[in-house]
């Protein structure tokens, strides 16, 4: 391509006080091209993205270097001269934001104003930049919503909280689209989503590039996601560029060791399976015809979250549970540890009916059944230190001696690979991976026999994900754990589980050995398999 670049970034440096988030990034973006920005958590991707729109202003972050936005080739645009985002005055910046450069934020759940209707928010943006009348703005907003696959007729007047995560993500994209910007910066647009929705969104972005010649900067820690959707890729590590090039090039023939690590950490459906850990023959958990129905509530219809599920789990076995969002995985998991009361059916644990336990007896038995929550950040009390949180179960079960407590917690911290100096840290002072380890430590400190892991890795970047998966395997061996491993990522589940249950609409549609995933018969399972993003092969 010969066209002149839209965006030129020269020696971009960003630091937050003593922390250097980015140490001199340079890049050029041409119309219609897509650039992938990858790197593990904390490598400076979001910081860079925010700086492109000048969003670090007034936050105390120091931004150095130049970010030049070039005028539209036709000259019809609003800017005639190249503008340096870093030095532009507020008014110029205001006109550029959204109109020239639009951004989709990493956290779609909170990026919409909860007090205004989604449609109105999109229309408002249109009015702001085009000085359009209310009717025209409304029509354009509706059109943009339809474009991202949201039914404008029924959803225009909805509030953000009435949207699912995927819909909010798409609403944000619609907001960007309504302005027909030249560059879209999409910061992890799919992390929070399950594979099927993720695929939809990536498709949409691709279509837009073709249709309106949008340039795209796609940020992700997932090389597989980036793989099929960008032209060039740039790998960041701790604020430094380690490698860049055409995506196929980089992914198939990585030069830098770090890029190789990233690639290796990606769970693959075709990866070799680790050796099975032997399970004993006696059953530990027996679920018979379990159903959980959430009664209708405030106008919404009753939901059958789990619908007649039966399972048997041997002592020491690991069962993977997959299925798309809302298929009842968490509800099943919570029922097993009795956080959720089943509507009908029976759960036997070590030959005893779980439902018969009450009060004190129930509290005593609880130690055998633990759950590792989907989101480690919310399952650790933000106002208690990690150490206290891990010690708490022991205290509840009668341990009073401070020294012994401390020793136990330190031992456990060490076991999950955390330094015991972290004892007094609060959850927000840890990285995501560290938090997940802490949550695991708390679940294991009572030496449970069965642990349900509810999506323990979906919030983590690939490298951390790989570490946690490895840790779980080791712990299984060491503590003779029986594991229920819930995830929506088939590739991850496959690595941890002996058998895999595929759930759809509350039912187990297929139960396969991990090794036999490819032989899946159920059309739904096949659909899931095909939605997994794959790395391009050389």
């Amino acid at each position: 391509m010969t066209s002149t670049p839209i965006l030129t970034v020269e020696d971009l440096r960003i630091s937050f006080g003593a922390v250097n988030a980015l140490n001199g990034l340079s890049l050029e973006l041409e119309p219609g091209r897509a650039l992938g920005l990858v790197g593990e958590s904390g490598s400076g991707k979001s910081a860079a993205a925010l700086s492109l729109l000048g969003l670090h202003r007034g936050t105390g972050a120091q931004v150095g270097g130049r970010i030049l936005l070039h005028p539209r080739p036709t000259g019809a645009g609003e800017i005639a001269e190249p503008v340096d985002i870093n030095t532009a005055d507020d008014e110029t910046l205001r006109r550029i934001r959204g109109r020239e450069l639009a951004m989709i934020f990493q956290e779609p759940l909170t990026s919409l104003d909860p007090y205004h209707r989604v449609g109105d928010q999109i229309a408002g943006v249109h009015r702001l930049h085009f000085r359009s009348g209310p009717d025209e703005a409304r029509a354009r907003a509706a059109q943009a919503l339809e474009q991202v696959g949201i039914d404008a007729r029924s959803k225009y007047r909805a509030y953000p909280h009435e949207f699912s995560g995927g819909m909010r993500q798409r609403a944000l994209i619609a907001m960007a689209l309504v302005l027909e910007p030249r560059v879209l910066v999409a910061d992890e647009p799919t992390t929070a989503l399950d594979v099927t929705v993720q695929a939809q969104i990536l498709q949409l972005l691709g279509r837009l590039r073709e249709e309106i010649g949008l340039s795209l900067i796609l940020i992700s820690h997932d090389l597989a996601v980036v793989g099929g959707n960008v032209d060039d890729v740039l790998v960041l590590k701790s604020g430094d560029e380690v490698e860049r090039g055409p995506v196929r090039e980089v992914l198939t023939r990585p030069q830098h060791a770090y890029t190789k690590d990233l690639l290796n950490a990606i769970p693959r459906l075709d990866a070799e399976l680790p050796t099975r850990i032997a399970a004993s023959a006696e059953p530990l958990l027996k679920v018979t015809d379990l159903s959980v129905v959430f009664p209708s509530h405030r106008g919404s219809a009753a939901t059958t979250a789990v619908d007649g599920v039966s399972l048997e789990l041997l002592n020491g076995e690991s069962l993977g549970v997959v299925g798309e969002s809302g298929s009842g995985k968490s509800t099943l998991g919570r029922s097993i540890v009795r956080l959720q009361k089943p509507t009908s059916g029976r759960i036997e644990f070590a030959g005893r009916d779980l439902g018969s336990w009450r009060g004190k007896a129930l509290r005593d038995h609880r130690r055998d059944l633990q759950l590792i929550f989907q989101d480690p950040a919310s399952s650790l009390n933000p106002r208690r230190s990690i150490g206290d949180s891990i010690a708490e179960p022991l205290i509840v079960h009668g341990e009073k001696d401070r020294d012994r407590l401390r020793a136990a917690v330190d031992g456990m911290l060490e076991r999950v690979g955390l330094d015991d100096s972290l004892y007094h840290r609060y959850p927000h002072q840890l990285s995501g991976g560290q938090r997940q380890r802490a949550a695991i430590a708390r679940a294991l400190i009572l030496r449970p026999r069965l642990v349900v892991c509810d999506e323990p890795v979906s919030a983590l970047d690939v490298t951390t994900q790989a570490q946690v998966v490895k840790l779980l395997r080791e712990l299984r061996e060491e503590f003779e754990l029986t594991l229920v491993f819930i995830a929506h990522d088939l590739a991850v589940v496959r690595q941890v589980s002996d058998r895999i249950a595929v759930m759809n609409r509350g039912r187990i549609v297929e139960l396969l050995p991990a090794a036999g995933l490819h032989e899946a018969q159920d059309p739904y399972t096949r659909a899931l398999l095909s939605a997994v993003p794959e790395l391009p092969v050389a």
Binding site: I96, R97, F105, Y115, H129, Y159
Partner: protein
């Protein structure tokens, strides 16, 4: 929504019944004899007994209570010793000390409090929200600290001191306003407002500080949220962001507290009324408490409770209306 209101109405009725019962209970524990107060300083035993009978005080408490409750719905005929007075429903009893049905006393007093709250609320909301926004524009700056300090200072002065200060300043020293008397709105709007200006300010200044804090905190919290960053990323001006979006985050709380404060003032602004000599519910309450005029005490208390309950219900509704994430149930 209707179900919510119906449920609230039933709950309110129950609450009012309990309040009335508690008032009756307290009344019988209270020292002092309303009959002997009504009878005068030098009243002999026979006379006292007569008075007691006329006032219905010789009947058992529960009977008196029942009469009270039933007359709310059915009205009641009171024998005032000379003839019978018919007190039609909703009859809240008959004050033997002022020889008037309580309902009439209440309807005379209520306009005062309605007038008080009408102006005061407008003032305190505009002062509080206005200065709250002003303070939030540059948090921790000089003007933020100054406005917050002034707001707090006014809020911490007992209202009777503030009222006095206002009287001295405006009526005695500068002589720009008349000493307040209550002129009904229907009689002369101009005089109504002129006379109530000082009471309005007295109430508003004590309250505004709280609204300032709430608005400021709400706006600052909202400004730290992600969706504000979205607005910035789409080119909104900072003023528009604060005035149209950030302030929305503070509104549910502000509106809720405002509804409750309005209920509180409606239910009787005792100090304001007594300092400015306004014949509202608060004054009626204090006066009737000192003469232990049970029917009036009960009537005022019930009306006050009712107003507070209404305000609380409005507060809940407002919260739900202003925060789309909250559903009324």
């Amino acid at each position: 929504m209707t179900a919510f209101l119906v449920r609230r109405l039933l709950a309110a009725a129950a609450v009012l019944l309990i309040v009335a019962a508690v008032v009756y209970g307290l009344f019988y524990l209270m020292p002092g004899d309303p009959a002997s107060l009504a009878c005068g300083k030098r009243c002999d035993a026979a006379e006292l007994a007569q008075v007691r009978q006329t006032m219905g005080l010789n009947r058992p408490v529960y009977e008196q209570f029942w009469t009270f409750i039933s007359s709310i719905f059915a009205g009641h005929a009171y024998d005032n010793g000379v003839g019978t007075v018919w007190c039609s429903a909703p009859c809240l009893g008959y004050s033997f000390q002022s020889d008037e049905p309580v309902t009439q006393l209440l309807t005379q007093a209520l306009p005062v409090d309605v007038s008080l709250v009408a102006g005061a609320a407008v003032l305190w909301l505009s002062l509080g929200i206005g200065f709250g926004l002003f303070a939030a524009m540059r948090p921790n700056g000089l003007r933020d600290k100054a406005t917050t300090f002034v707001g707090l200072a006014f809020g911490s002065v007992p209202i009777f001191i503030l009222a006095l200060l206002l009287l001295l300043l405006f009526c005695v020293w500068w002589q720009v306003l008349p000493f307040p008397t209550f002129v009904p709105f229907t009689q002369n709007v101009g005089q109504w407002a002129e006379n109530l200006l000082l009471p309005w300010f007295a109430i508003a200044l004590t309250f505004a500080g709280n609204y300032l804090r709430l608005t400021r905190a709400g706006v600052l919290e909202a400004l730290g949220q992600d969706h504000i960053r979205t607005l910035r990323a789409y080119g909104y001006t900072e003023r528009r962001i604060v005035a149209r979006h950030a302030v929305r985050g503070a509104l549910p709380t502000v509106a809720t507290i405002a509804a409750m404060d309005i209920g509180g003032v409606l239910a009787g602004a005792v100090f304001t009324e007594s300092m400015f000599g306004l014949p509202g519910l608060g004054k009626l309450m204090v006066d009737s408490a000192s003469t232990i005029d049970l029917p009036v005490i009960t009537g005022v208390t019930l009306l006050a409770s009712f107003l507070i309950i209404v305000a609380n219900t409005v507060a809940d509704l407002l919260y739900a209306v202003l925060d789309p994430r909250v559903r009324i149930s």
